[in-house]
């Protein structure tokens, strides 16, 4: 913690025996463990695809390859931004790190949004957790992955707020940090509400009939409220997204960002597997 001066060698940590930073080692060990975690979960899904119950939902009836491909692409891009965030932080560029983290959060949220949309859509089509075993394994597997994404987003948000921590320990910034956090939370919830409203309206009136869609959307106050909340919270985030003081965040924190990145990338590769095993293979 005292190693502020001088350049930091990001490939060798002199305080540890192996030269690998403790946090990095911790993350890799954790990811090894997570391999078993998802291994068991994916096995369950595949076993039940191998031995399906007689009247399960036909996956092809509900799946939408366009949507899934899109969200897969989005997750890949978020991974890119994450990698860039790590790179930026290693060079001590706080501003760039913040931007990249924000971008990652944004893409992650799009992914989650797609998943929320997908789930509600499937439920509309009659496939639920309880409806059949395919629903059970599908939602549990992709949902667990979704929870991992959500935890990742939470972590990113914390890290983003962390970049504002003043170097002067006596400055009170808890209130500020909490406001930032609340703004994130409100924005996220607002977006999800908007998405759900659109899905709802679309399912009832068809997505192509723009007028009917618009009419249905503004029929209830939800959309207006959530849009306003979204705009406001983004505004707050923008305002708070600047710091005039010296921050306690820099190159030395690259390892924190990197650990978070490892987690995020791992969630991405789990999705790579899920995309192939759960979605693509169904089309054969």
């Amino acid at each position: 913690m005292s190693a502020h001066a001088g350049t930091i060698d990001h490939h060798h940590d002199h305080t540890t025996v192996t030269g690998i930073p403790n946090k990095k080692l911790f993350m890799w060990a954790f990811l090894a463990s997570d391999c078993m975690f998802f291994g068991a979960l994916i096995s369950t899904h595949v076993i039940y695809r191998l031995h399906p119950a007689p009247d399960i939902t036909d996956p092809l009836r509900v799946f939408s390859l366009e949507l899934t491909s899109f969200s897969t692409f989005i997750l890949l891009m978020s991974s890119l931004l994450m990698a860039l965030a790590v790179g930026a932080c290693q060079k001590g560029k706080v501003e760039a790190t913040r931007k990249m983290i924000l971008g990652t959060i944004f893409f992650g949220l799009i992914f989650l949004g797609c998943q929320v949309y997908e789930f509600t859509h499937f439920v509309h089509l009659g496939m639920t957790l309880k409806s059949d075993i395919f629903g059970s394994t599908f939602y549990t597997l992709t949902g667990t992955h979704g929870v991992h994404v959500a935890i990742g987003i939470l972590w990113l948000v914390f890290m983003y707020i962390r970049t504002f921590k003043p170097a002067d320990a006596s400055r009170a910034w808890i209130a500020r940090g909490l406001t930032q956090f609340a703004a994130f939370a409100i924005a996220t919830v607002a977006v999800m509400v908007m998405m759900l409203e659109v899905t709802h309206a679309g399912a009832e009136h068809g997505y192509t009939n723009f007028n009917a869609l618009a009419g249905a959307l503004f029929h209830t106050p939800f959309v207006a409220i959530s849009t306003t909340a979204f705009a406001l919270s983004i505004g707050v985030l923008f305002l708070l997204g600047r710091s005039s003081w010296a921050v306690d965040f820099g190159e030395a924190n690259a390892i924190d960002v990197e650990s978070m990145g490892l987690y995020w990338h791992f969630v991405d590769i789990v999705w790579i597997v899920i995309f192939t095993v759960v979605y693509l293979l169904e089309y054969l």
Binding site: A32, C35, A40, P54, M77, S79, H265, F275, L284
Partner: protein, 126 residues
């Protein structure tokens, strides 16, 4: 595909010196996107099923490895990280494979799936 892979390490070498790994990472992301596209197209190509399945598995594996080795820096880090992660990965892979084998055995066919198996057998017989 192989052409891309060949250029990647080369780019890594160059990029390392000037502007970090920015270009390298962008290129990798592009390759990943392209592979995903290939995968999606692949399922519509009328080839033998085993061939498609194999290609899908191989392509996903390539994506998997690209992410862990470049985005997750395994390539640039101490080999021990790779070993550590591979312990988990290999063990998980082995366990998944063992479970698949166990549940593919004839003795494992659940009673609830037997009608489906009968239907499939009938369809195959035609």
């Amino acid at each position: 595909m192989s052409a891309h892979a060949a250029t990647a390490p080369h780019a890594a070498h160059d990029a390392h010196h000037d502007d970090g790994k920015f270009h390298l990472f962008v290129q990798i992301a592009m390759i990943l996107a392209v592979i995903t596209g290939v995968e999606i197209v692949l399922i519509y190509i009328p080839l033998a099923k085993w061939l498609i399945v194999t290609s899908l598995v191989v392509l996903s594996l390539v994506k998997f490895l690209m992410v862990i080795f470049w985005f997750m820096h395994l390539k640039f880090d101490k080999a021990f990280c790779t070993i550590l992660f591979f312990i988990g990965m290999v063990l998980a892979g082995g366990t998944v494979a063992a479970l698949m084998l166990l549940f593919s055995a004839r003795d494992s066919v659940p009673l609830s799936a037997q009608t489906i198996y009968a239907e499939r057998a009938a369809a195959a017989a035609e």
